[in-house]
Amino acid sequence: MKLLELRDLAASVDEKQILNGIDLTVNAGEVHAIMGPNGSGKSTLSNVLAGRDGYTVTNGDMELMGTPVNGMSVEDRALAGLFLGFQHPIEIPGVTNMEFLKVAIDSHLIASGEEEMNTRDFMVQVRDVSKRLQLSTEFLKRFVNVGFSGGEKKRNEILQLMLLQPRLAFLDETDSGLDVDALQVVARGINEFRSDENGVVLVTHYQRLLNYVNVDFVHIMVNGAIVKTGDAQLAHEVEAQGYAGLGEA
């Protein structure tokens, strides 16, 4: 099944054209990596996909689970199965992680016609996943990302991913700012998450996350377009030669 299909997608931010015709298809069971130098439009693609204000689609089509998403609200895209992992997870003082996770899960349940999760089941599930991500349950009582280390913030993202079980995870530089230990925990989370039913897109600057997560496709993005697609071997070429060495710069 096609989870995501982008056809000749172009988009602008503040009237500046950033994406220049992207074609990308992600099927269930696949893991893709999008790599590219700074400024190539990787984060713009994440934001356009999520429907963030200020990002305008100027051309092309974008479909999630076979449904066109242009015009859908941010929350409706999430409820349709899209999960955007943030490069810089924001801090939300005053809102506890627990409340945030519970309301997010309940929003998904209600949208699919089910009832809110009872608190006990929620706690059992959250504790279980937190443990696997080496996050103490104490941190559920804290305000969202407030006072979290870089690694904790990213593990909190993976916690949300594992609890919400989206169809498509689009993870924007989830590996940035992580030490090796944290990187391994995050990678383990991604590996646990991936299944034949869902898809993962890892947006990354470096190849190192791909040492821990096996990918099916690697796309190289430069100047708002995918200039090369290959398998995991392509990431090693980037690592060895740099983006310039691929002959597209």
Partner: protein, 370 residues
């Protein structure tokens, strides 16, 4: 139709009416200081200075129409409670009439001339808890003393009416003060004055909803070394509510500390003003004083005025102040929505979160449904 009166005419006419309304049937109460302050200084100019935003005339006229007695307080362990009306000749109640040492705050003296009920509380033990109920319909005045080393938890509720609370916190004593102001269509004037002696502390939590007009003055006089005042609170007002909160922290002596943090949320066509004033006297070396006031306007018609002011007469201080007014944070909103939370729910979560940062009291949390 009569020509509109000038501010000065309003002020003079209002003053003569207030003076004529002085409560005379409690002759044992000495109201002379209130009377002379009002005669000497008059009322403030309506619409100017500290009365720029709140209708002074409406508040003074309201006080002149209120004549209910405030509900008596029940007995509490470790607290002596005396009521103004029994016995009528209690010599210790006489001082309740005096506003000496309060400074020039004419609305306190309007209360001084007109109050008909009041209490005197003397907390002389530990961890006592006293509740002062709503003042609706009354002009009342309360005198609170927390003796040396004692601790008092004071829970006060105020909606409308006219009330002055004067608190003296003696050496090494602690006053924990939870002040909640539920929503009302009425008008209200509330004034709290606290004097802090050496080594004492005040922890004030304010939580407020809106009113047709509500003015709240909070004055903290730090009189002793190593005294500390922590003031935090927030408000959530909507419709056409009007809330005017003015906090004055006066550091009269050094090696003392104060911290104020207030968050306000205004919705619909509501209007809030916050004025936070810190004064540090010339001899108050090694004082630390901080003030933050953040406001969020949820609708384009809502208005929040914020005005921090510092007056510092010595160099040896650590002082900071800041005030902001804005909207809910876009990035936070995006994160919540990107997790499937509808925009309305996301806004409500962020609004509550904004208030939770400053409201820590049980009563405040309950009032604002946090």
């Amino acid at each position: 139709m009569a020509a509109p009166q000038s501010a000065d005419t309003v002020r003079t006419e209002l003053l003569s009416r207030v003076l004529a309304e002085e409560v005379l049937d409690m002759p044992w109460l000495d109201r002379s200081s209130a009377r002379s302050v009002l005669r000497d200084h008059g009322l403030p100019f309506p619409g100017k200075g500290r009365w720029q935003y709140s209708d002074l005339r409406a508040l003074v006229e309201d006080a002149m129409t209120l004549d209910n007695a405030h509900e008596a307080l029940g007995p509490v362990q470790n607290v002596e409670i005396r009521h103004l009306d029994r016995p009528a000749t209690d010599a210790q109640m006489v001082e309740l009439g005096s506003s000496d040492g309060v400074g020039e705050l004419p609305l306190i003296d309007v209360n001084g001339l007109l109050f008909r009920s009041g209490t005197k509380l003397l907390a002389n033990g530990n961890a006592s808890r006293v509740a002062i109920n709503d003042a609706t319909g009354s002009v009342d005045r309360h005198l609170v003393s927390v003796v040396q080393d004692a601790t008092l938890q004071l829970d006060e509720q105020f909606q409308s009416g006219n009330r002055v609370v004067l608190c003296r916190v003696r050496d090494s004593a602690t006053l924990n003060y939870d002040l909640t102001m539920p929503s009302t269509d009425g008008v209200g004037y509330h004034c709290l004055v606290v004097w802090l002696s050496e080594g004492s502390s005040l922890n004030l939590h304010l939580a407020s909803q809106g009113a047709q007009i509500r003015r709240s003055d909070i004055i903290v006089n730090v009189m002793g070394r190593n005294a500390s005042a922590t003031l935090s609170g927030g408000w959530l007002i909507e419709n056409r509510d009007h809330l005017d909160t003015q906090v004055y922290v006066n550091h009269r002596i050094g090696q003392s500390r104060s911290e104020q943090s207030f968050h306000g949320v205004v919705d619909d066509q509501a209007r809030s003003t916050f004025s936070g004033f810190i004064r540090i006297d010339r001899d108050a070396n090694a004082t630390e004083a901080h003030l933050t006031n953040r406001n969020i306007a949820l609708s384009p018609q809502a208005r929040a005025h914020a005005q921090p002011e510092l007056e510092i007469y010595t160099d040896d201080v650590i002082c900071s102040h800041g005030a902001t007014t804005g909207q809910l944070d876009d990035d936070s909103l995006f994160l919540l929505r990107a997790r499937g939370i509808g925009e309305e729910s996301a806004r409500a979560m962020l609004t509550k979160g904004f208030l939770r940062q400053v409201i820590h009291s049980e009563s405040g949390t309950a009032l604002l449904s946090l």
